[in-house]
Symmetry: C2
Subunit: 414 residues, 2 copies
């Protein structure tokens, strides 16, 4: 059961958002996957609730009886109740989010070339990413490369429309001043990439600064409005494009008990404490790993837990004893840009080109489907050799709020 | 000036609609094209009107002065005032149209698997294409191949949900009966592909029938409702997916005089009779070709006229005499499916594999951009060898009208 008809490879979402990949290349149709599994069937729909007493899953009003239930519905963007985040921030959790960010970036550049109001132009050309975790950092790196390699080629010149009343579109070829394009990463702590070592974080910080990304440390967001990010320090950033990567919360069908972060606690066998027929795997699972912390909400956890839960169900069916989940730490990776990434596994820390090559290989390997791998590899090779991001196609032009346009109400990031 | 930020390669739109290509692969960013042309600049926006007296183009309220204006704004789907066409039919003129058709097909199959109402299921699985020109025929062929090669693999089994009240989702793997999936092409005349010879048309008809496409000749649509196509003969086809390829009308900025079909008449030099500074090229141009007919509204006309108009402007600037446009007929091509197409050039008529190879080569050649060519070729090779259409990713699930859902109002095809 899934509300989409595809499996989404979330680690590459930021590349769809930054116009490097076509959206369907990181999505694989569930039915294509199930062709190989004749005893499996797929129901597209939202899982609304679970009745564990009657062993029934409710999918958009349709009751489905189960013997075992494996829940892996993951997380969504969490706004922590901060005013304006749900209304005005763009998240980066699904294809729609990614395409909305792509459209917003392209629309902002086009409108910046047309407005005669320098204050509005600066807000249009300011892109703010909240959160210095891997998602925020990878997106910041990608936007930094767009700023450095794409803007000067697509918008050369730096001639703006005349500011006189009724401003005239210039006859000279208009273009953007690179200095006006700002990418700001806002982070509460004093460093990025909390899950990595200090030396990897410093390497990443230097690389991002080198790309022109501004890192604002020790700044806490208190409110987002339709045209600004307001910080606790009193600073305010005028922007129409605030992107929120500062946290997630679990999404689960009603009827299952949640603990902190909206996650669901399980025994080490990965089923509910109260019900051995309901298993939970992936980002949604809360099982202590070390020092009171649960397993990290990353792909290796989900892959290992999904497979482990299925095997425990099979063991029970065969009358064997269930086993306890042991996490195999596959390390952490984050890519920053061309030939730049950080990779850590235990005490092994690699940076730069070797880390980037490892990142490419691992992501291609885990991407589902030969065709998707070939297409993504083709796009990466193209971007590498041309310094280009080819998918600069605006699907839906974004209308930014202004006194003339009624402010639009974007879809909440949930 | 363009309302999109990309050039769209319309001849391959039907392949986006039928899940064979990713949308951005047939779109090329205008700014990427203009990188090579330092003296050109781009303004994204809708050209609302022209004031020929003051030589001003109005783009979303912004007046732009011109010395010469070259209008090539093409056509949109024409509904000929038939009730319900604009409200309920899907067109196939832009990326949004193509993605809407793709989402509609996928959504219909998923809902057909879930409904317990056999009448609703039949309407969901009936896809009607109105118009037997090249667009309708190419789309019918693509849908016929999906019916033959994809449906049996993605929806095997043919088990439907229980029709008892409160119908239960079956425990057996559900699937579609291939016989319930209908593709109907409705054409007013007694043959398809009017611009081709009778023998090419008969070859195409046989190929489509062989794929299971129903050809309904001599049938005229009188009304489209949210769940049916009504014909003059009194027949009615229950369907939630009527696709309209039965005609187009010109789209031009206000202030220019139009003749029939919404097109703009020009002198053989391709400028307005009344104003030698305004040129018109492509689908929008109405210039007599032979026997009282204008040039065909196809890509070769647009390519030749666009270039010719530009050269006539240059000739005038150099003080040379303007020339008269001579159309070089490049022939006609339509593809039907795997290794099947028809191609005609003068008395040369080829069919089958050679015609299909020629079609592939010509379309790859005219597609703009090395990356797009490589990606499209990759997708074609994948589809050819696997009999698959890989881009079966539902971007937005379509909610079909029903007593429970309020009927939605789809965007008009214009």
């Amino acid at each position: 059961v899934d509300r989409n008809n595809y499996h989404l490879f979330q680690p590459l979402l930021y590349q769809v958002a930054s116009a490097g990949l076509e959206a369907p290349q990181i999505a694989f149709p569930v039915r294509a996957f199930l062709r190989k599994h004749k005893n499996a069937s797929f129901l597209m729909g939202n899982a609304d609730g679970v009745d564990t007493a009657s062993k029934t899953l409710l999918v958009e009003g349709k009751p489905i009886a189960y013997d075992y239930l494996l829940v892996g519905s993951g997380t969504r963007t969490a706004d922590f109740g901060l005013p304006g985040v749900a209304q005005h921030c763009l998240g980066l959790k699904d294809l729609d989010d990614a395409m909305r960010i792509r459209d917003r970036l392209l629309s902002a550049c086009e409108e910046a070339l047309q407005t005669t109001d320098p204050i509005r132009r600066q807000a249009l050309l300011t892109f703010v990413i909240v959160g210095g975790g891997p998602t925020g950092v990878e997106l910041a790196g990608a936007l930094g490369e767009i700023r450095r390699h794409i803007i000067p080629r697509d918008y050369p010149g730096g001639v703006y429309p005349n500011a006189a009343p009724g401003g005239v579109y210039p006859n000279a070829a208009p273009g953007l001043n690179l200095g006006d394009v700002r990418i700001i990463l806002v982070e509460t702590g004093d460093r990025i990439l909390d899950a990595f070592s200090g030396s990897s974080a410093r390497y990443a910080e230097n690389f991002l600064k080198h790309l022109g990304v501004e890192l604002w440390f020790g700044e806490r967001v208190v409110e987002i409005t339709e045209s600004a990010v307001k910080l606790k320090s009193g600073k305010e950033i005028a922007t129409f494009t605030p992107i929120w990567t500062a946290g997630v919360t679990g999404v689960s069908p009603a009827g299952l008990p949640t603990v902190k972060g909206g996650r669901i606690a399980t025994v080490p066998g990965l089923h509910l404490v109260s019900d051995p027929s309901v298993y939970v795997a992936g980002d949604l699972n809360w099982l202590e790993w070390k020092e009171g912390r649960a397993h990290p909400q990353v792909a290796p956890t989900a892959i290992q837990q999904g497979s482990f839960a299925a095997h425990n169900i099979l063991r029970e069916l065969r009358g064997q004893e269930k086993l306890s989940f042991k996490y195999r730490d596959k390390g952490s990776m984050a890519t920053l840009g061309r030939a730049a990434a950080v990779t850590e596994l235990g005490n092994l820390r690699i940076k730069g080109f070797p880390a980037w090559s490892a990142w490419l290989a691992v992501h291609l390997y885990y991407l589902v489907g030969f065709r998707n791998r070939a297409m993504v590899l083709g796009n990466w090779a193209y971007s590498y050799f041309t310094y280009d991001r080819a998918v600069r196609v605006m699907h839906t032009r974004h209308v930014f709020p202004s006194p003339e346009n009624k402010p639009e109400t974007p879809k909440a990031t949930s």
